[in-house]
Amino acid sequence: MKLLLTGGRILDPSCGLDTHGDLLVEDGRIAAVEERTGGKKSPGKAVQVLDVTGRIVVPGLVDMHTHLREPGFEYKETIATGCRAAAAGGFTAIACMPNTNPVNDHRPITEFILRKAAECGLCRVYPVAAVSLESAGKSLTEFGDLSEAGAVAFSDDGKPVMDSALMRRALEYAASLDLPVISHCEDATLTAGGQMNEGAVSMELGLQGIPSTAEEIMVARDLLLAGFSGAAVHIAHVSTAGSVRLIREAKARGVRVTAETAPHYFTLTEEALWEYDTNLKVNPPLRRAADVAAIREGLRDGTIDAIASDHAPHASTDKDVEFAYAASGILGLETSLGLSLKLVRDGVLPLEALVAKMSTHPAAILNLPGGTLRPGSQADITVIDAERNWTVDIRRFQSRSRNSPFDGWTLTGKAVLTIKDGVIVFQDS
């Protein structure tokens, strides 16, 4: 089976490729990338030809931070619905966090996730296993065994590792196995009871604040631990100017740190919360305009390596309640690309850098095979229409949940074709 994408702009940050041409897929692999010569090579009969003129052909997008909720919270999302949402959002690979029920802290759960993902087949799913048993912050999980079962990284996401000694051991042990640790940076003693960013808006709304220092203290701690031990650390969902500054300084000192942020942290501020919309309740919380500017600058100067959605599905029963009782989290898979393309139009990032942060870099951080269009590599491809105006409509989401604050927003640019292993898994009609 062959597939030929003709006439598109082929953009591959992994090898600095940016050309107009054709891309041939054969047996699930990238067979050839050919510059448009104006010639009229007639493809063979067994070739499916798709004209993608005016579109951008990039390595399949990789979302290194999602929540699929299965096992345990299937009413919010299943692995299958999450994979459908991923494909519709242009993602060919996603990493899913371990805060399921049970927590992904043992081989059978990792294997279960992989089996479910394989049954669905629409998206590569890379489980992130817990750092500690039940993410309780007490004892390390079996990194080696979980890794052999298919876990690609370790994180107690949602529950920060408060014990500094445990975090040190986790970083060191993971480094010896060449596995990444992803840190959810919040000092739980400073965030306890918090509902939104601490500042003028939380004061007026009477909602208990979460200070930006709660994040920065933990970022600083993890950078110090990484620097001291020589181990690598990946900082999840960076949301404050102070975190960006700390990571920038650490990188300059040679600390092995990578970092991600999520679209809502460079798109929305705490000012959006005036109406107590629980769809805007998220951890870490939406911050101030100065933080948004710093996140954008961090993306621009390379301090922040990756954009991840932190796709966090919640059902109406979790969200249609008093703000203090509402679950934290924002859907991301189906809006991430549209929101991130705004960075290109705003002049924050060239398109190539954006694709790197949404595909090549996350693949590299997690040691995944994707993020490239090099001939011979797996044919995971996303075709983007960067000019397409479309309106976010939560009723049309593939996700099982509807908790998006972007409902009704008009975005420019979306994935129109998602190909995994050479097979079309999503095509915009």
Partner: protein
């Protein structure tokens, strides 16, 4: 003049004209409570539900009396006796009550923003009777009514608010109202009881009561929630009282005709020394009386009454 709004969720949303309308209407209702027969037929056939998710004696009683003096059918629901204990959501409770066609729902809730959720869900008018650490608009209105009655004006007054500002819905509503009406507001409390961004609300911020009450026309003391001690908001009640309990020495720093207010219930000897609470400067019981009039005015105006 009519009040052109469905709900009273906070003072922040109200215009100066609306506040004046409510205060004027409240004054006209004050007299009803002094009659031998304390009842007028104004709201006959109207239904008012007091939906209280948080313990309250004075506010609930005040709303109930206000409704009854206007001849409304007044029903009280408290969280302990309702289906809340069975796990029903606020929205489901609201829709259930809505089906019985109430005209006004008065809600008190420990979660900030709960009245907004209720107001979005139902067609009936919603009055916020205190939500979390957000707003307590009827308290601020009765406080302003009391100041206006005693001082003849609000504009130009210096009002000192003392205590746990961070957790006080009374403070927030009063700050919004008093600033809109042209008063000067000074707040005082230990830094642990003060938002870092406090000055952005247009008030003077002090950490010593002596500085805040200097030349004040009104001193408003806030209730201390003793359970906050466990969050290290203050070390001990003893130490709090030592620095922030309003006494004669403080009152001497204020203007001679200074009023002392408190939203109640009072922790005697913690927030106010007994001689001040019972002394001539105290208008605490007048606040309670005005509270009924303010709530009568709001029920009347929200159900279409004209001033």
């Amino acid at each position: 003049m009519k009040l052109e709004r469905k709900d009273i969720l906070g003072i922040r949303d109200l215009s100066v004209d609306e506040i004046n309308l409510i205060l004027d209407t409240s004054e006209s209702f004050l007299e009803i409570s002094t009659r031998e027969i304390k009842k007028v037929p104004t709201l006959r056939g109207k239904t008012v539900i007091n939906l209280f998710y948080e313990a309250s004696t004075r506010t609930r009683t005040s709303f109930e009396i206000a409704g009854k003096r206007l001849s409304a059918d007044t029903i009280n629901i408290s969280a302990s006796t309702s289906s809340v204990v069975k796990g029903e959501t606020l929205i489901d409770t609201a829709l259930t009550l809505e089906s019985m066609h109430p005209d006004v729902i008065v809600i008190r809730h420990s979660a900030s923003g709960a009245p907004h959720l209720l107001a979005k869900t139902i067609r009936a008018s919603v009055i916020n009777a205190g939500d979390g650490t957000h707003e307590h608009p009827t308290q601020a209105l009765l406080d302003m009514m009391t100041m206006k009655a005693r001082k003849g004006r609000i504009a130009g007054l210096k009002v000192a608010i003392v205590g746990d500002i961070l957790h006080s819905r009374v403070a927030r509503s009063n700050i919004y109202g008093l600033r809109k009406m042209g008063a000067r507001v000074a707040v005082a409390g230990p830094a642990t009881m003060m938002p870092l961004t406090m000055a952005e609300m247009g008030v003077e911020v002090h950490h010593r009561i002596e500085e805040a009450v200097l030349d004040a026309d009104v001193i408003m003391m806030l209730r201390i929630q003793t359970e906050r001690q466990h969050q290290n908001i203050f070390p001990t009640l003893r130490e709090y009282a030592r620095y922030f309990c309003l006494n004669r020495r403080h009152l001497d720093l204020a203007r001679e005709d200074c009023l002392v207010m408190h939203p109640g219930p009072i922790n005697r000897g913690v927030e106010i020394s007994p001689d001040i609470a019972d002394g001539p400067a105290s208008v605490i019981l007048e606040q309670v009386a005005n509270g009924v009039a303010v709530r009568m005015a709001l029920l009347y105006l929200l159900t279409g009454g004209k001033a």
